[in-house]
């Protein structure tokens, strides 16, 4: 009974301010080379609303990064439609897209000699003049990004002095400084300890709630993602599922994720356990 009424409220709320920021239909992703077309995954359908945090999970090599790269316009889709704010992705110029979408990649910044403040302020590039001069508004937004990611004390440090966890926060701050509705993150929790993994994901959750950002992140932290995400994308070799974590558990989606001999999903505990 209680669960039912709660669900009703969420349905009411979402229908009230339902605004789809990212809409994907019948998408096929992969690589085109001269000789052949390699389809990594196809038949992907989902739609993410404003202020939603969406976790993308799946085994290694299933195409999580390829999907994110395709959504970011870094490689072209093989089939299907990607719509951002009701406009097809391929109708945006790269500068227009930079106003709508920012990314956090797995790759470290090419120059480790950048200071944290310099790196974060680079996020303002789509808005600055030809030499990249920062206005007062730009500086305010950079300070806000520093504050949101708790990186103020790092501002004058160089990137090579940072720990992995600190660097990840700085990269998120840069995406925040870019001030876009949509943020895509490729495995933001890799190389981090348990505390920092939880910290980063809670930070993303807070950004979605407080700043209304729409966030799609890929991760191997399925347990944490189940606890925090509004919706989840589960990529398997047969199909890509998209639903709330509760519904996905009910459908038994996570059980199919890995071979059952080693680990299995416990729907009660909402996490994977080792098979004895």
């Amino acid at each position: 009974m209680v669960i039912g009424s709660e669900k009703k409220i969420t349905i009411l709320m979402t229908s009230e301010n339902k605004h789809s920021v990212l809409e994907i239909s019948e998408l096929a992703i992969g690589y085109i080379s001269k000789k052949k077309t390699t389809i990594v995954s196809e038949g992907i359908n989902f739609s993410i609303n404003k202020g939603e945090l969406v976790g993308l999970v799946g085994t290694n090599g299933i195409g999580k990064s390829t999907l994110l790269r395709t959504l970011a316009g870094m490689q072209s889709a093989l089939k299907g439609a990607i719509t951002i704010n009701d406009t097809p992705l391929n109708q945006y110029s790269s500068l227009q897209l930079a106003n709508k979408l920012s990314i956090v990649l797995t790759e470290a910044p090419a120059s480790s000699n950048l200071s944290v403040l310099e790196l974060i302020s680079l996020g303002r590039q789509p808005y600055t003049n030809w030499v990249g001069k920062l206005s007062e508004t730009d500086k305010e937004i950079i300070q806000k990004a520093l504050k949101a990611t708790e990186t103020e004390s790092l501002a004058n440090q160089k990137c090579y002095e940072l720990s992995d966890g600190q660097l990840q926060r700085v990269m998120i701050a840069r995406a925040l400084a870019q001030d876009t509705q949509l943020i895509l993150l490729d495995e933001p929790t890799t190389h981090l300890d348990l505390y920092h993994r939880a910290y980063i994901l809670k930070l993303l959750k807070r950004l979605a709630i407080e700043s209304g950002k729409t966030i799609l992140f890929s991760t191997h932290e399925i347990d944490l993602a189940i606890q925090l995400s509004d919706k989840m994308l589960v990529m398997t070799s047969e199909k890509t599922h998209y639903n709330s974590p509760e519904n996905l558990i009910r459908q038994g989606c996570f059980e199919t994720l890995f071979p059952k001999e080693t680990i299995h999903f416990d729907p009660e505990m909402k996490r994977f356990v080792l098979k004895n």
Binding site: A72, M74, S94, S111, N113, E118, Q125, G132, Q178
Partner: protein, 343 residues
């Protein structure tokens, strides 16, 4: 890009150093000329001996200006290459640009014999030297770049650059083998590198090329900063990578090509100066770094030239030898001290 502090004082110090090294450079030479006579010589005034006026105005001044243009230009092209290839070891010399330029010049000087005397003489004007040299470095850079689209590993890219250098050196050897003594001597002297052979007209051509190369670099300041994060991030911030790469390549081949044409291949300035400048200017912002590297390169070249002309003796050492003698230890010192070159 936000930088923590203003570098105004740093720039004032650099500019003062530039003036000091410039005056030092023009007042020292094989002939000892009193300082006040040098000053009046610079401004075209009367000197006690008319030969002094000639030495200062027609020999030492053009040489100093060439040093400023060559040093500044090469250093900037080194900075551009390091950011474009995101590799601290990149520079016009390492990536085979200078070898490309020398190949162009070799074809021109050594190949001139093929076209016959009169036509050969015509070919050897300042402009044709510049065009051949710039074309040579542009072709090598294009080759390196087209490989760089296939090979993502920058270390491999540097090795390929070195291989291009070897190939061009080999072609130059073959050309030398078939050319006569006079042409060979002309080419060998060019390859020693010299700042002293550039006339006022040559300086005009050189500065046109350098200024145009610098303009292209300054237009690229913002994309250069974005490239510090890597190509993917730069793209995601709305930077047009193709256009930027083209601008940077054009700028580098114009700078390195024209300078190599007039002053010969000069090693290490392009590689070492950006790193030296980063020791003093602790920022990655190209808006600060670009002018700083420009001035530092000019200062370093003036110093190297002052050493090369061995004051008060009649000998002048090849400038290329001096920059290598000074540059190589500096790079080793940086590597040992920091264990890793950062850019």
């Amino acid at each position: 890009m936000e930088t923590q502090k203003s570098y105004l004082i740093h720039f004032i110090i650099l500019l003062l150093l530039l003036v000091v090294t410039f005056l030092l450079n023009v007042s020292l030479g094989s002939v000892s000329i009193p300082f006040n006579e040098v000053i009046s010589g610079i401004f075209g005034g009367e000197t006690s001996k008319s030969s002094w006026q000639f030495i200062v105005f027609d020999y030492r001044l053009p040489k100093a200006f060439t040093a400023i243009l060559a040093g500044g230009g090469l250093a900037v092209s080194g900075l551009l290459m390091q950011t474009l290839f995101r590799n601290p070891l990149a520079g016009p010399f390492v990536l085979g640009l200078s070898s490309g330029a020398s190949l162009g010049v070799a074809f021109l000087i050594l190949g001139a014999g093929i076209f016959g005397g009169a036509l050969g003489g015509l070919l050897l004007s300042s402009w044709s030297l510049v065009i051949a040299s710039a074309l040579g470095s542009f072709l090598v850079l294009l080759a390196v770049l087209s490989v760089s689209f296939k090979v993502k590993d920058t270390m491999t890219l540097l090795i390929i650059g070195l291989m291009f250098g070897s190939v061009t050196a080999a072609i130059v050897s073959v050309l030398s083998y078939f050319s006569n003594a006079e042409q060979l001597q002309q080419f060998v002297f060019w390859s020693f590198g010299t700042l002293g052979n550039v006339s006022w007209q040559g300086i005009f051509i050189l500065s046109l090329c350098v200024v145009f190369g610098l303009l292209l670099s300054f237009v690229s300041i913002k994309p250069l900063n974005a490239l510090l994060l890597g190509e993917n991030y730069a793209k995601s911030m709305g930077i047009n990578i193709k256009k930027t790469t083209l601008y940077i390549i054009l700028a580098t081949s114009l700078l390195a090509g024209s300078i190599t044409a007039f002053a010969g291949p000069i090693a290490f300035v392009g590689l070492a100066v950006p790193h030296l400048t980063r020791q003093y200017f602790t920022t990655s912002n190209h808006l600060v770094l670009l002018p700083a590297v420009l001035i530092s390169g000019a200062i370093l070249m003036l110093v190297c030239d002052t050493v090369a002309q061995l004051p008060f003796t009649e000998y002048t050492l090849p400038i290329n030898a001096i920059t290598s003698l000074l540059g190589a230890p500096v790079v080793i010192w940086l590597l040992v001290r920091k264990r890793k070159l950062l850019f």
